[in-house]
């Protein structure tokens, strides 16, 4: 007979959890007079509000959030490391999967970085096609958001309208690239194929439909008093704090920062040839984030309509060698993606693949403000704030 030193199952000592160990999460003191003890609630990794596998450890006092701690990394796929073992043309396949809702927009900064190092420029028609497809993926992403946000605050109908209208746009992208989600269509020095026959008139119709459906969202969601009650002055990101946390894109513009890389960054694609405006909202709350994205969807649709009118003809590919070797050097290219600012820092040692790549993804920075933002709100507001920040888990974890 062998004996073990372990105590029998029932007699295991209680592990004393020092409450002070949790104090570092936040120092919000809610309901001091009537201290009722907190409940720790795990929201996620599988939860309808987290768009994937984000985990939020939330300490609740009743329905109030005392502290919230986002835990990321459940979807880490190591793309930064993987790029070191792929050639440049292969990498677009990987980075399609970072922010899977607007895959085409992901490809652009990486391809631009490689082109920048090789000192080649894509011909004008390719630039136009890239811009059109980028804006189409922006529209598709935002249409999903416009519906999804409605769903997260409890209205079922907008979600289905969002999915329906997004499908038209995805069909357009599929008609050009062959892939609804992962187009893998950019090539260093240009773009793979021209538009299919009849696509331009089709696209015009869909863009007009998109503008109409934006009006529908305006009526159904933005104009809804309950929606306004749920989102106004919920999750306010102050201007300076948002900038300090590195929040970018529509989230930052909704806080009143007039900053859009398409206009303010170094020139990329053909945005300077178009007549468009950057939308901002002074409030910085969940409602303004919704409103800004709604306006940007309209603006993108108008931009696509403009580009369809003024698209030049010409070749689609610049002259590139058959085996692409990028000269030695390093470059950082960042672009305005639907979720915010996305950048690639590429170091090349003259080989067929990059030596190192650092991906600056928008959602990672956008989510970093969550612990600050979620203190003291109610449980339903967690969902509103998560939805209005609009992150993609692939974009956080890469």
């Amino acid at each position: 007979m062998t004996t073990t030193n372990l105590p029998p199952p029932g007699d295991l000592p209680e592990i004393a959890v020092d409450p002070a160990a949790f104090r570092h999460l936040a120092d919000a003191q809610v309901n001091v007079e009537l201290d009722t003890g907190d409940m720790v609630l795990n929201i996620g990794p599988q939860h309808p509000a987290t768009h994937g596998t984000l985990r939020l450890v939330v300490r609740l006092d009743g329905e109030r959030v005392v502290s919230a701690d986002p835990i990321i990394g459940y979807m880490h796929r190591g793309y930064e490391k993987l790029t070191e073992f792929r050639t440049y043309p292969q990498i677009t396949t990987l980075i399609n999967r970072i922010d899977w809702l607007s895959s085409f927009a992901n490809e652009v900064p990486f391809i631009e970085a490689a082109e920048h190092l090789m000192a080649i420029e894509a011909p004008p028609r390719a630039q136009y096609l890239r811009t059109i497809l980028t804006e189409l993926s922006r529209i598709a992403t935002f249409l999903l958001f416009l519906g999804e946000m409605g769903l997260q605050v409890g209205a079922i109908t907008p979600a289905f309208y969002g999915f329906r209208d997004r499908e038209y746009v995805l069909n357009l992208i599929e008609a050009v690239t062959g892939g609804r989600f992962h187009p893998n269509f950019n090539r260093i020095g240009g773009i793979k194929d021209d538009l299919p026959w009849g696509w331009i008139s089709e696209c015009r119709g869909v863009m007009n439909k998109t503008l109409a459906s934006c009006d529908e969202f305006d009526d159904l969601v933005v104009g809804n008093p309950i929606f306004q009650k749920r989102t106004r002055s919920i999750g306010i990101i102050p201007r300076e704090l948002g900038a300090a946390y590195g929040v970018s894109g529509s989230n930052l513009r909704a806080s009143g920062v007039d900053w859009d890389l398409r206009r303010d960054g170094p020139k990329y694609l053909v945005y300077d040839e178009l007549d468009w405006q950057v939308w901002t909202h002074p409030d910085g709350d969940s409602f303004s984030r919704y409103w800004v994205r709604l306006q940007e969807t309209r603006e993108s649709a108008r931009m696509v309509l403009q580009m369809l009118d003024q698209m030049p003809s010409g070749p689609l590919m610049a002259k590139v060698p058959r085996i692409i070797k990028v000269p030695e050097g390093e470059v950082f290219v960042n672009t305005e993606n639907p979720l915010g600012e996305m950048g690639y820092y590429v170091i090349s040692k003259g080989a067929t693949g990059p030596f190192r790549t650092k991906i600056r993804s928008a959602s990672f920075s956008n989510v970093s403000i969550l612990p600050w933002l979620l203190r003291g709100v109610y449980v339903p507001d967690i969902v509103t704030i998560l939805a209005s920040l609009y992150f993609i888990l692939g974009d956080i974890d890469r």
């Binding site: 409940m39 609630l41 939860h47 309808p48 509000a49 329905e63 409605g150 769903l151 997260q152 605050v153 409890g154 209205a155 079922i156 109908t157 289905f160 309208y161 329906r164 159904l220 969601v221 809804n224 309950i226 929606f227 009650k229 749920r230 109610y378 449980v379 339903p380 507001d381 967690i382 969902v383 939805a387």
Partner: protein, 351 residues
């Protein structure tokens, strides 16, 4: 013609069978017509319109089969008896409401008007009974949330309790106006008041009480929406926050019970609203035995109309937050209901 003598026991058995059959049937009808068909049309859903060929008629049967063959899972830490009993109590409350709803002059399970305790200031206790038993479901909901040993379920159950208690009051107060105007608490009495009334001397449609009690009707609909935990008041089940609230641990047949309870109660509340405000089973110029046969059809049509309003709101609106919900109940609905009662009382005395 001699009346057929039916014994007490046989009558009870027939009534039990009818009620046991009718409550799930109404739930299925509402689920089919509104949840599957109307919702699909409104939201351009393709799935529920597909199975079976014509208009997706097979979808509900498929759903039912799916529920029946699902594994019955009980959480390891659950309070087993309470967990198993909770869905039954929720459905029980639905069944009990159906008891008093009249569908014709003689078509109702029990009007409770001749009960010994019903003799008092008011003639009958139908309204009182219906509103009382409809709130029994909160016990089942609390039991479900507590016994699941799940934090989401607990949050949902506590929300449900707070919500159902808060909205019980405007629901009752909204009906008080009707009771004052008709002078009876018997549902049959209220229906016959509406049937025999006349509109400026024209008795074509009787006198549906919604003409004078429109405020009460609006309050009743809002409060009923909250009692049913439907959007915009569906915080107890808020699927984007609490996954499924107090139902989160329930599967298969037990979940089906909650489903039947939800839609059966929706039907019961719609029937109450139709009876109290829209004239119930009453058909102009039809009395006696003919009304017994026509009454259920008329009541059903009115119920479907009221249910349409309920589900329309359900599919369109976002949900409130818990504190906003309480604010609406205590700051708006109850004062308005009290003002309505006051006005009705003054007018009753004046005319």
């Amino acid at each position: 013609m001699t009346a057929i003598e039916i014994g007490w026991g046989t009558t009870l058995a027939i009534k039990t069978v009818i009620v046991l059959g009718i409550v799930p049937l109404t739930a299925l009808i509402l689920g089919y017509v509104f949840l599957l068909k109307m919702m699909s049309h409104m939201q351009s859903r393709l799935g529920p319109m597909d199975p079976g060929g014509f208009h997706g008629w097979y979808q509900l049967i498929g759903d039912g089969i799916k529920f029946l063959q699902k594994e019955d899972i009980m959480p390891g830490e659950a309070d087993r008896r309470v967990f198993a009993l909770a869905p039954a109590i929720v459905v029980l409350s639905t069944f009990l409401v159906f008891v008093v709803i009249p569908a014709g002059p003689r078509v109702s399970v029990a009007s409770l008007d001749s009960a010994p305790f019903a003799k008092g200031a008011f003639d009958g206790v139908g309204v009182f009974y219906a509103l009382a038993v409809s709130s029994l479901s909160v016990i089942g909901v609390l039991m479900a949330g507590w016994a699941s040993s799940n934090k989401y379920a607990l949050l949902g159950a506590l929300r449900a309790a707070a919500q159902l208690i808060a909205y019980e009051l405007p629901l009752v107060l909204a009906v008080v106006g009707v009771v004052i105007q008709t002078g009876t608490m018997s549902l049959q009495g209220i229906v016959s008041f509406q049937q025999h009334g006349s509109l400026f001397g024209w008795s074509g449609v009787g006198f549906p009480l919604i003409l004078t009690q429109f405020v009460g009707f609006a309050l009743f609909m809002v409060a009923a929406q909250a009692e049913l935990t439907q959007p915009p008041f569906d915080m107890p089940v808020a699927e984007s926050e609490l996954v499924a609230g107090y139902m989160v641990e329930y599967t298969g047949f037990r979940f089906l019970f909650f489903f039947i309870g939800e839609f059966g109660t929706a039907f019961a509340f719609a029937a109450l609203a139709a009876t109290l405000f829209l004239g119930g089973w009453s058909v102009p110029w039809v009395h006696g035995t003919a009304a017994d046969f026509l009454g259920p059809v008329v009541l059903f049509a009115k119920v479907m109309f009221v249910a349409f309003l309920m589900f329309w709101a359900r599919f369109t609106y976002p949900r409130f937050r818990e504190d906003q919900l309480q604010a609406i109940a205590w700051k708006w609905l109850i004062p308005v209901a009290l003002a309505n009662i006051l006005l009705t009382g003054v007018l009753k005395v004046a005319f």
